[in-house]
Amino acid sequence: MFTFIILFCVERLKSQRSMASVYHILQGKRAAQTIQDANLYQLTDVFSIYSKLRRSQFDQVMNQLLQSGWIALDLDKHVYVTEEGKKYLTDHQGCFQIQYFNGATYAKIFELFVKRFSLTIQTYSNVVMHRRTFVPIIEDDATQQWVKRHYQIDQNDLKAYLVDLHESTKAFLQTIDRRSAQLFVDRLTGYQQVGLSVQQLAKKNNVSEHDIQMMLTLTYHRFLQYIEDRRPQSLLRFIDDELSLVNQHFMTNSAEKTYQLIRTGLTIDDVMAVRKLKRSTIEDHIVELAYALPNLNIETYISEVDFNKIAEVVRMNDNRKLSLIKSHLNDEFNYFQIRLVLARYQIKLN
């Protein structure tokens, strides 16, 4: 599955990006360049789906793919999918259900949810059986505090809560395939039952450890989507204090600050003065805004006529490479304008 995801990303990057950009997108680097790449090449759904991925592990996988001839590098060190790799992609289309990834939306909340959910089950399941000392599987202090706070409220009726939680989780698992459901449950730890490690799950399912990480993440993304749609109370509590994180715009913190100023009616020059930043930086922010906020009015920055001229060239050439587009337009427009159009054009396509 991990191989498929990587090939999928590389294919979308249209041999215009290096291998590092694939890594940064999967790992979820919150840098302007990465967010822009994810936006531009429609990879927001896989953004940050593998934050634990180490660069050395990624390089190892990429080397294997290079060696097996499924991907290759062009002269600019840009990576592309070979014919053989494309065949793999077509053959496996639909196998891994990666359309359920919701990376950009759940990037900030996914791990938080998994930690709270797992530690709550371990804690309540043990305490309800009168076992008060156990080694918490989640060591993170904030999560432990969170579970403690909720335990204070639930302690008089743990059983009722567990029954509810079980009902809602079961209902969700019945909406997904059996294999994913089994994997999800194998990972859980409760009273006298310790979850399997990633290494053990990989062996049990006869896939790589990376595949297991991806399968688990995918299931948790589906779980989050399910919770948002159906809103079962026993599950909603794991995220309701942090829902703002879900609804947060997919942009860098700096762009968010610029947005707050622009909303009050400031121009680019005003923002430059207030934030003591260069013009190009503010322009980067506005491009980020154009992606993240489909309703943002960009006519202040580019007229409708100009927009259409650029959009026409983009339509004719299926290429996202700015310099090419710019020369096609005889250098009539600057990069900022072209990037704005690309941002909007993208949204229309979706």
Binding site: E139, L188, Q192
Partner: protein, 510 residues
């Protein structure tokens, strides 16, 4: 004040003390300095954890083992005890500063010996009321101890700076020589000794010589075919833990086996440990990284696939079996040339003479050019292939001879040459010493006498007779062993019933 038993039950939910604990704690509470040797698994940590809850001031615990520190902090927090912290090189700079600033708020403070050399830490500690100063793994003080740590020698000064709090020096393995040395190194302290025997009368010792290491695999399979009991198999190579785990896994459908070594990530390590505790795993193939903080009383069988580097480690690892006092077995597998593995390990523990020579040439050159030269010692590590331990060893020497200052300046000094001769002699001496320790273990394997007598002879004068079987030399036949076997655990593979048993472990009708 309530009596010690009541406090023990209140804070730790144990009804009675184990051998030695009460005597040691009573002496400490009376302000006596104590040197205690308690065998592994005898509950050493209670000896300072309980006093920490009872005394007025703070308790400092110096320990060389980072993982042990973390384990203890975790365990105490689990019990709901939060005034506890650890200060070591794993902390980030920011964490460290915050902890140091708030040091007075903690009752129990774990420190590495290196941290006590940090002047900020020491100054802050001097302002706090310290009731008890614990030196864990006290054998590290002695250069005859198996894990000599130079920084332990500086503890004497720290004790003086802290104006003589009550001292508790604890160790699991100390020969009479080491005990004497520990006492002489801390000359200003008058110790009362509590020495408890480390021999284990419920563990039968069995050594199996084979012709080739493939035969070890076969032997293990033969043993596991016969016995399904909680088993640990010790290796000195990470790769081998994985290989043998996979062989066992292929051979036995019903057995649950896993490997464990330092390269697994933390969350996987936690899961594997807990699976073993909960009897979800029957066999664990591990390096010595496993075991620290493991408190499982019914481990029946310890197999050494590879040898450790000395008797002390061997005794500790074997001692993890049968804490419930039931009949247990230790099997050691040896094939020709097996001594080479621990030998290589020993060699890698010390910096090579060539790399030390090269480093000294660099230092000599630097000190000729200027009086004070700024250096980055981490670069040395890269250039000369020093491990963290090597680097600490070398820096200690350079500092002791006044050549390295503040960890970053090389000061032109007349004793550079003298220091080189000294460090080279030291390396040779340590290396001889470690080889001697390894030989002790090899001699034990070759012994024709009773293995039990020979294993513990160095550590104690009286050795209890075996409670069950003794050893292969005394006629113990491994396959006559009849322990209570674990049942095979039914693995449910139906996610709905599994989900239910995790989330609703209770009977819903009640």
């Amino acid at each position: 004040m309530e009596n010690l038993e009541n406090s023990l039950e209140r804070y730790f939910s144990y009804k009675t003390f184990r051998t030695g604990q009460k005597e040691i704690i009573s002496d400490i509470m009376a302000g006596q300095h104590v040197l205690a040797t308690l065998p592994t698994g005898a509950g050493k940590s209670i000896c300072y954890q309980l006093p920490a809850l009872l005394v007025k001031g703070g308790v400092i615990v110096v320990t060389p083992l980072l993982s042990l520190m973390e384990d203890q902090v975790k365990q105490m927090k689990q019990r709901g005890y939060s005034h506890i912290t650890s200060l070591n090189t794993f902390n980030t700079e920011q964490e460290r500063l915050t902890i140091i600033r708030n040091l007075h708020k903690y009752k129990l403070i774990f420190l590495s010996p290196e941290m006590l050399q940090n002047q900020n830490v020491l100054k802050k500690l001097m302002l706090i009321d310290i009731s008890l100063f614990v030196i864990d793994e006290a054998h590290c003080i002695s250069q005859w101890g198996h894990e000599f740590r130079p920084d332990y020698l500086k503890l004497n000064n720290v004790i003086v700076d802290l104006k003589y709090p009550t001292i508790l020096a604890l160790t699991a393995t100390a020969t009479p020589d080491v005990q004497k040395d520990v006492i002489s190194q801390l000359a200003s302290v008058k110790f009362k000794k509590h020495i408890y025997p480390m021999d284990r009368d419920n563990i039968a010792l069995y050594v199996k010589q084979v012709d080739h290491h493939h035969e070890k695999d076969r032997f293990i399979i033969a043993v596991l075919e016969r016995y399904n009991v909680p088993t640990m198999i010790y290796f000195s190579s990470k790769k081998e833990t994985e290989r043998v785990a996979s062989i066992i896994n292929q051979r036995f459908d019903q057995l649950n086996v896993a490997y464990y070594h330092g390269d697994l990530d933390t969350s996987d390590r936690l899961l594997i440990q807990q699976q073993f505790m909960e009897n979800q795993l029957d066999v664990i193939c591990c390096t010595s990284a496993f075991g620290m903080g493991i408190n499982k009383s019914d481990i029946r069988l310890i197999i050494h696939y590879h040898l450790p580097t000395q008797l002390e480690s061997f005794i500790q690892e074997v001692g993890r079996a049968g804490r419930d006092q039931l009949e247990s077995v230790s099997i050691t597998l040896i094939s020709p040339n097996d001594h080479q593995i621990p030998q290589r390990l020993i060699e890698s523990e010390l910096p090579s003479l060539e790399s030390v020579e090269m480093l000294w040439s660099e230092i000599e050159l630097l000190s000729q050019s200027k009086l004070t030269v700024k250096v980055d010692t981490n670069e040395w590590a890269q250039r000369y292939n020093f491990s963290e331990v090597h680097l600490r060893f070398i820096k200690n020497f350079l500092e002791a001879y006044g050549i390295l200052k503040y960890n970053k300046y090389i000061v032109s000094h007349s004793s550079i040459h003298e220091a080189k001769i000294a460090i080279i002699n030291k390396i040779k001496e340590r290396s001889r010493y470690k080889k001697h320790k390894l030989n002790e273990l090899l001699n034990w394997l070759a012994t024709s006498g009773c293995r039990r007598q020979r294993l513990y002879a160095k550590f104690q004068s009286h050795i209890s007779p075996a409670k069950y079987q003794c050893c292969d030399r005394c006629g113990f036949d491994l396959f006559q062993w009849q322990p209570k076997q674990s049942g095979y655990r039914q693995r449910i593979n139906d996610y709905l019933s599994q989900l239910k048993s995790v989330m609703i472990p209770f009977n819903e009708d009640e």
